[in-house]
Amino acid sequence: MSVTKFGRVTGPPSPNIHLGSSCRSMVSVCLTPSDRSGTLAEQTAQVLDNIDQYLRDMGSSRQKLLMVQVWLAHIDEFAGFRDAWNDWIDPEHVPALSVVEAAAARRDCLVEIRAYAAPGTDRSA
C-alpha cells in the first residue's frame, strides 16, 4: 500500500515534516494556526479552513471526515472551539471528535487539530 505525503515543511527553525499523508484507506492532516494573533475561535476557524484546503488538494473533502482530534491549550476555552467547529462541519456529515487539553510547541498556539478523512477516489481497481 503506497503512502502519499503532502504539505512539506522544512527547517530549521521548523521541524522537517509533512503536514499530511494519505493511503488508500485514509487521508490524514495535522495543523496548527499560522496566524496566532487571534482568539481560540479565530485560530480554530483558520486551522479548519486550512484543513479544508488540504483535504480538497488530496481529493477528499469536509464531507468525508472520519475522525478529528483536537488539542486545546486551555480546555476552559472550549466554547470558542465549539462555535468555530459547529460553523464549519457539514451537519449531514459529522465526524467523530475528541477534544483534550495539551500544550502545543508554541505557547501562543491555542489549538492543534488532526483530521482523518476518507480518500476521494474509489479504490475498486
Partner: protein, 125 residues
C-alpha cells in the same frame, strides 16, 4: 467509499458522531464514562464498557481494535486505570494502547478513550 455515521451527539454543544465507519475502518469519538461519580477505576470500567457496546453495534469486539488511546486527567491514575484495563482486555489478545495525560473538557472527568478499529466482518450494503 461509503461512510456510516451513528449517534450524532453533542460534546457540550459541539456536534460529533459517536461512531464513524468505512468498509475498512472504525472511529469512535472520545468516549467518557456514563457517570463521573466514580473513581478513575470505575470511570475507566464504564468507558471501556461503552467501547464494547459501540463496537458490538457494528458486529465487532475489542479484537478489532487497531489502537486505543487513553487520556488520563492525571498520570497518577495510571495504576488504577490499568486495574480496570486488565479486567477488560483479552489476556490472550490485548489491544495496542497509548496513554498520556491531558486535561479533559469537564473537570470531574478522569478518563477518555479514543478508539480506532478495523472492520473484520462483512459490511452490509
Amino acid at each position: 467509499m461509503v461512510i456510516e455515521r451513528r449517534h450524532i451527539e453533542s460534546l457540550d454543544g459541539a456536534r460529533k458522531s459517536q461512531i464513524v465507519a468505512t468498509d475498512e475502518l472504525i472511529f469512535l469519538s472520545g468516549i467518557h464514562p456514563e457517570s463521573t461519580d466514580g473513581d478513575v477505576k470505575e470511570q475507566t470500567r464504564s468507558a471501556l464498557a461503552r467501547v464494547d457496546a459501540l463496537l458490538a453495534e457494528l458486529g465487532e469486539d475489542q479484537s478489532a481494535i487497531l489502537v486505543i488511546h487513553v487520556w488520563l486527567k492525571d498520570m497518577r491514575y495510571f495504576g488504577a486505570m490499568n486495574a480496570a484495563w486488565n479486567e477488560w482486555a483479552d489476556p490472550e489478545n490485548p489491544p495496542a494502547r497509548t496513554c498520556v495525560s491531558g486535561e479533559l473538557y469537564r473537570p470531574d472527568l478522569l478518563v477518555e478513550v479514543v478508539v480506532t478499529a478495523c472492520r473484520t466482518g462483512e459490511v452490509s450494503a
